[in-house]
Amino acid sequence: MAEAFRIRGAGRIEGARGVRFSFDGQSYRGIEGDTLASALLANGVHLVGRSFKYHRPRGIVSAGAEEPNALVGIRRDRSRQTPNVRATVQEVYDGLVAISQNRWPSLAFDVGAVNDLASPFFSAGFYYKTFMWPKAAWERFYEPFIRRAAGLGVAPDRADADCYSNRFAHCDVLVVGGGAAGLAAALAASDAGASVILADEQAETGGALRGEKTALVDGKSAWEWAKEATETLAQRANVRILTRTTAFGYYAQNMVALSERRTDHLAEPPTDMPRERLWQVRAARVVLATGAIERPMVFPGNDRPGVMLASAARCYLNHYGVAVGRRVGVYTAEDSAWQAAFDLKGAGIDVSAIVDSRPSPPEDFVERATALGIECLTGHAVTGTSGRLRISSLKARRIGGTAIRDIACDALLTSSGWTPSVHLFSQSRGKLVFDADSQRFLPGEGPQDCISAGACAGALSLAEAVEQGFRAGAAASGKRRRKPVPMVTEGASWSEGTLGPAEDAGTGAFAKAFVDFQNDVTAKDIAQAVREGMRSIEHVKRFTTTGMATDQGKTSNMHGLAIAAGILRKPIPEVGLTTFRAPYTPVTFGALAGHARGALFEPVRRTPIHDWAKMQGAVFEDVGQWKRARYFPQDGEDMHGAVARECRTVRESAGVFDASTLGKIEVTGPDAAAFLEMIYTNPWSKLAVGRCRYGVMLREDGFIFDDGVVGRLAEDRFHVTTTTGGAPRVLHHMEDYLQTEFPQMRVYLTSTTEQWAVIAVQGPKSRDIIAPLVEGVDLSDATMPHMSVREGKVCGVPARIFRMSFTGERGFEINVPADFGRAVWEEIFAEAQKTGACAYGTEAMHVLRAEKGYIIVGQDTDGTVTPHDVGLAWAIGKNKTDFVGMRGLMRSDLAAGGRKQLVGLKTIDPRTVLEEGAQIVADPNEPVPMTMIGHVTSAYWSENCGRSIALALLKDGASRIGERLFVPMPDGAVNVEVCRPVFFDEEGGRLHG
């Protein structure tokens, strides 16, 4: 298909390579350098989408990032599909596939358009009112309906196949925006020697000069000046230019986040190139040269395809060589739109009329238009448009008059003025000041080292913008400016415009004058919101959803605000301005995640014995970042069978367990014992060298924080163990007290978790297993009783041997340097096999400890449990005068009755295993909500007890032993009997051999 609307001799991309692309299955031609929007317009395509709520046909409104309407899906393959891409930003490449959104069955015929006829039912806030009753309809009808209707594009159904990267950068001056002001700023700053990063969201620098044709800078065409300036900058070693790069977030202390799009414009991206790159730039100073965004006029029928911003039409003509129509009308309230009409007329396009709501626009404009044969309707308004999928005529009426003229056109350019892009300045926590004369919010005082320059700072001409930019760049460099400011002649200028509704925007039952195109919010909706009591713009916004679409109201917010202010008869600043939030334009999750995906999302920690366990066919579970062997199935065993066998074997013979993940902290120094006295509830000073003790650690509030066995290796040296998950926070906690509460203590804390591999050998045969491998330590019960620690050698490797138990059996935990862990493990395992012992995993470990009623902090406790609650009052040193949590334990609520206490539960049917987390009640027939008196914290099948066992926290549990209670479950309450939380070897004889 020929590009019927490409104008020979116009634009700057003429002569570039041709490309083919498709839109909704139809193949089109474009030119390299086109955006999807310019290429579609070159083929006469305006209709590109359907609106969100009413499914109205919509066309291309802008030529830039502010685009509210032209959102399409871009598909490379099944795992590379991007919804809601702005056609005005997407560059075409050979083979690009784009599809329209939010329509069925087709863009031209969309069944959903029935919503448009039903629009009186979809007024502002309709979903707050409509979906209230009947209650039962919510789940069945309303929610599925809303879910189906919500959103515009379709999310891809496969994982993103692209990669993303991120970089940190530092510079003296970050210039955001590569238009005239930004280029001037970068020139001035880099000229003075400052390191400069210049970021621009477009494919090339130049900004609004893309649409400029007549202006001259330093005697050259403004575009040529921009290209030369860019060339100059590119050759400077102290300048980095980032194009296709959006500064989307401005954070504390001049940290600006940039998203650089690297491959979205390439037909065949190199496979090793990241699709996007996230830059986190820390700049000494920031120059914001973000320009201004043109606003459309708000009038009935202003959303018909073919109605677009005047600046966009100018840009499409002067840069892309594309005429947006053959017979173009203009409706404006400010100066710059007139230039669009002149440019189009100059390119041979018929301009049917310029309608200006101002009674007397500048006389020279009117004269020039008249001379060009363009009809000027000043003091007039456009009060409607016609056409189904494209505008066919506009209806003009003298303001105050009644006669309506129907003027044929196939495009209508509108402009009501320019809104400075103060988004980033506002994000920097800068204060915006409303300038009542020009009806604009402009940058005021800001807390960060940041200068706004150009149209975003209120400049009203190209000359002013360039001068502001140049001065800002020089100032930001911190050096004296040496070169003269680039001289603008024949400069473009733009004027203040109008805010709020134009003529007839608020009348007629079916007249729709759109403010927010993307969310289908009309002037009437905003008026209705105010009528229904919304007084602040923040409420109006949420009630009508104006400005809440993906474009965040770039073209609409000021109109919405002005409409609300007008009805409230308040000045605009009193109605408020909604907050500007990052990101400026949508940012992909890929860019934010960067490399932190899949295996790189979080480090995986493996013990030295991991590979051995893997070879044995162990099934692993995640415990924090650790992979731990959960059980070792043999001969087709399921988990239940394997765990039962492992539990039985440990108590009959012995088991070998990889405890390397236990947190380990070496506490040394002359005051080590005194320090531990403060950190733990237990006494330590009298613990003999060579002995160990189970310690309980509290927070200041008196609740259990962590626990573990601590061995005393020397007067001034302790080997502290913590829970697997608790190691970092325990070290942090200890460091905190050591550094800030007890800085006088001479104590040194060293994390040794990964330095030691820990091999637990537990069971009646444990000593027989390790004895042949141990040198220099007498393992007999008499010299090395339960809870002692020795240093010696195991398999010739230096080792710390703890006699301790988390199973209730005689047990040893052998610590060897991690590098020897696997070798020592294999030798111990070989010995173990001779006695019929086995390797066991974390699941058996859990069952074995529960049989003995040993708690796991974080499973049987939840941060609101005291030592008294779980039967550990014995671990509190009776003669201590202070420790962390001591005063907390004396709080009245912790000492009062009625607290939940640790108990055991036996199901009356011994085969029923309770569910962890299940609630306990006294009366299962009580109506819901029942009185809950406790909950199950641990529950297992115990092969050794031949029945199910459970631990629970139960209100006044200690005094309820023997009571029958109930655990309600979906298929009926389970009867349980409360018992002491020890199910096996209650006397503890096995511990001692």
Binding site: A252, E700, T740
Partner: protein, 97 residues
């Protein structure tokens, strides 16, 4: 992301290296005979002002030291950082010590 000057390392480093550690200059009462009100003040009551706060930070992925800082919660600016145990500077604009 904030830039935080570690008074032990003597340089400003990105916030990623630090961990916030609550309000500064909350004295820990010693012993069992602390009255309920004093203990309540220590355990539960924090100033949380709009404006200048004194707070603790730890350079956890750096030197590991705890230190104190005065920060303006309105602008998010750090006014000063100083070592643990040092007194809060008295001359901070709008500050209370």
């Amino acid at each position: 992301m904030l830039l935080i000057h570690c008074p032990y390392c003597g340089e400003a480093r990105p916030e990623l290296e630090f961990r916030h550690a609550g309000e500064a200059h909350v004295a820990r009462p010693v012993g069992a005979d602390v009255g309920d009100e004093d203990f309540e003040a220590f355990l539960f009551l924090r100033a949380n002002p709009k404006g200048i706060v004194f707070e603790r930070w730890r350079h956890i992925h750096g030197c590991g030291r705890f230190f104190n800082a005065a920060r303006d919660t309105v602008s998010d600016r750090f006014l000063v950082t100083y070592k643990a145990g040092d007194k809060a500077p008295a001359d901070i604009e709008g500050g209370r010590v």
